[in-house]
């Protein structure tokens, strides 16, 4: 559709302001010294920018520990998720065996069962497995993802069968075919899926909230929820903790932006 330039330009400017102001406001507020943060009238740009809030949040409130917990959970969970998705995706795209449709439907049916509706029974399962209050519970419970399996299955389908046949003729073992042929050829899909799963796990609140109780096992999201839930909110601390929590996913997005926005589309629209 054609839209006149003089109409579009102000609209784009307005959109930009509406969407860029909140994150910038968060960042600049966190950079202000305690005396300036509540100043009225407020100014966007900090007059005396300081890292004091960040240093204090990082060192005083055990935030470094929560940050490490989140890094641990997100990294291991993303890796586990992708490895299992590649395996299942390979099985469902390149093998024909009795029960193929059954397993595919079984995995896909899990798409319709969000965590939110099985809170109590999953709590009981994790308790019986002694995974409550453990970061391993947060890692294992959501590790198998139907979406991941579906994306890998779609991608691996595009790898020519002749390559696999040739390798089998040469007597290559099935495991070697998986790691030496399927995995290297699926790097784009694997990279996309890893990045997404990492972001997803990093931003997760509900799983950790359900599983973790002990303060030493908190993830950053749990720490943030606890701080915002206080009656008298310590805003300088809360805002700087929020900024720190956005750094990993923000950096990932800045460096892989194009790829994030297109890969996500492929996953979402095909699903």
């Amino acid at each position: 559709m054609v839209m006149a330039r003089y109409v579009r330009l102000p609209c784009v400017a307005l959109v930009l302001i509406l969407f860029i102001t909140p994150p910038l406001w968060l960042l600049f507020s966190a950079l202000k010294p305690a005396t300036e943060i509540f100043a009225w009238p407020p100014s966007l740009w900090p007059h005396q920018p300081t890292l004091e809030n960040f240093v204090r949040a990082w060192s005083q409130d055990n935030f470094a520990r929560f940050f490490m917990n989140s890094t641990f959970v997100s990294t291991i969970s993303a890796a586990l998720s992708v490895v299992t998705a590649v395996m299942a995706g390979y099985a469902l795209s390149k093998f024909r065996f009795p029960g193929e449709t059954f397993f595919f439907l079984l995995i896909m049916s899990a798409l319709m069962i969000p965590l939110q509706i099985i809170l109590i029974p999953i709590f009981l399962v994790l308790r019986d497995l002694h995974l409550l209050n453990s970061l391993w519970g947060v890692i294992l419970a959501p590790a198998a993802t139907p979406t991941g399996v579906f994306i890998m299955r779609q991608y691996i389908r595009g790898i020519p069968d002749s390559l696999l046949e040739a390798a089998r003729m040469d007597g290559t073992s099935e495991w070697r075919i998986l790691w030496r042929i399927i995995v290297p050829l699926s790097i784009p899909a694997i990279a996309t899926l890893t990045a997404f799963t990492f972001v997803d796990r990093w931003n997760d609140y509900l799983w950790s909230f359900l599983i973790i109780n002990d303060r030493s096992q908190w993830t950053v999201q749990l720490a943030l929820a606890s701080n915002v839930g206080q009656w008298d909110i310590n805003w300088p601390r809360l805002l700087s903790m929020s900024v720190l929590s956005v750094v990993p996913t923000g950096l990932l997005f800045v460096s892989l932006q194009r790829f994030f926005m297109s890969g996500l589309l492929a996953g979402a629209t095909k699903e």
């Binding site: 930009l16 299992t84 065996f97 809170l119 109590i120 399962v125 099935e174 931003n203």
Partner: protein
């Protein structure tokens, strides 16, 4: 989706009829079963089994944790009592209505916003990539943090939103201190947080509409509005339906945003279903069965949406 899948029926009849052939096929598929084991195992333990247990639980009166020394927590079969309790529970009914209301208001608003953004940012112009990335960025941030950012900006006395309003002589608005305003604030922030994601889906949908249709419309001297109503909307219908269905499921599950933005308040005005289920299960004694029944009601609503989506996508394929 499933139509293109090679299924067991594709196997030549000869191998199906003889048991030996079937065993051979199972053996041949041995490696595939091994590959599927981790995924199927974890999904069974952490999703499918809990779902079944949840279904049973809805027909029992029990505590979340059944303690041997606490007889009142022991599971007792009560039939449909939990559902009868829900049908008479004013808080559940009010929360259910409020959640449906949230979906009914937020989803259309999100769809229209995403469509407007997509139409605005679909054409390629200088730095369009940057603008799209900025609009998409909230999707990379947890809803909990989105709630924190907006709670900070919505402050009554020191928030930047009320400051901006004061510049154009509008009195301070009690964004999160007033019950109806708080509900509006949750809708606005939810739409703000999700619009970029659905915008990208709609941009892809717009990209699939052939350009020559618009060229033909231009030759016929059709107004841009007419071209939009006659070409864009009808051809975008499948993508729009996808956006509505996907976002409805998300809207029903609204919770994390509320945790930080309003904490369910003021009063109980922004408590939605997920929070109620959690509170019923974990803060009220021996109400796990009632909470499971509440979950089941939500599950049925989500299932209807999922089935609608599947049918719809099958129809499109």
């Amino acid at each position: 989706m499933t139509a293109t899948l090679p299924s067991a029926t594709d196997i030549p009849p000869a191998s199906v009829s003889s048991p030996a052939g079937w065993i051979a096929r199972v053996r041949q598929g041995g490696f595939a079963y091994l590959l599927l084991l981790p995924t199927v195992g974890m999904l069974t333990i952490f999703t499918l089994y809990p779902l079944l247990q949840g279904l049973f639980m809805a027909f029992y009166k029990r505590g979340v944790v059944v303690a041997e020394r606490v007889p009142s927590s022991w599971p007792k079969f009560v039939g449909l009592d939990n559902f009868a309790t829900l049908a008479r529970d004013p808080e559940f009914l009010a929360t259910l209505l409020k959640t449906i209301g949230f979906v009914v208001v937020a989803v259309p608003l999100l769809t229209v916003t995403s469509l407007a953004l997509a139409l605005l940012l679909k054409p390629v112009f200088r730095s369009v990539g940057f603008v799209r990335a900025v609009v998409f960025f909230p999707k990379m941030v947890s809803l909990l943090i989105i709630g924190i950012i907006w709670k900070w900006m919505f402050g009554y006395n020191s928030g930047v939103v009320n400051y901006a309003l004061s510049l154009i002589d509008i009195a301070p608005v009690p964004w999160i201190e007033h019950d109806v305003m708080a509900q509006i604030a949750v809708v606005v922030v939810w739409v703000w947080a999700n619009a970029g994601f659905y915008m990208m889906i709609l941009i892809a949908g717009l990209g699939a509409i052939p350009d020559d249709l618009y060229e033909a419309a231009a030759i016929d001297a059709a107004t841009p509005w007419r071209a939009f109503v006659r070409i864009t909307l009808p051809l975008l219908k499948p993508t729009l339906a996808l956006v509505v269905l996907l976002s409805s499921v998300e809207a029903f599950k609204v919770y994390e945003l509320v945790v930080s933005l309003t904490a369910g308040g003021p009063g109980r005005s922004t408590v939605y279903l997920i929070q109620l289920i959690y509170e019923t299960a974990f803060t009220k004694p021996n109400q796990a069965g009632v909470a499971a029944a509440q979950s089941l009601v939500l599950f049925v609503m989500l299932l209807v949406l999922s089935v609608a989506q599947l049918r719809f996508q099958k129809g499109r394929a």
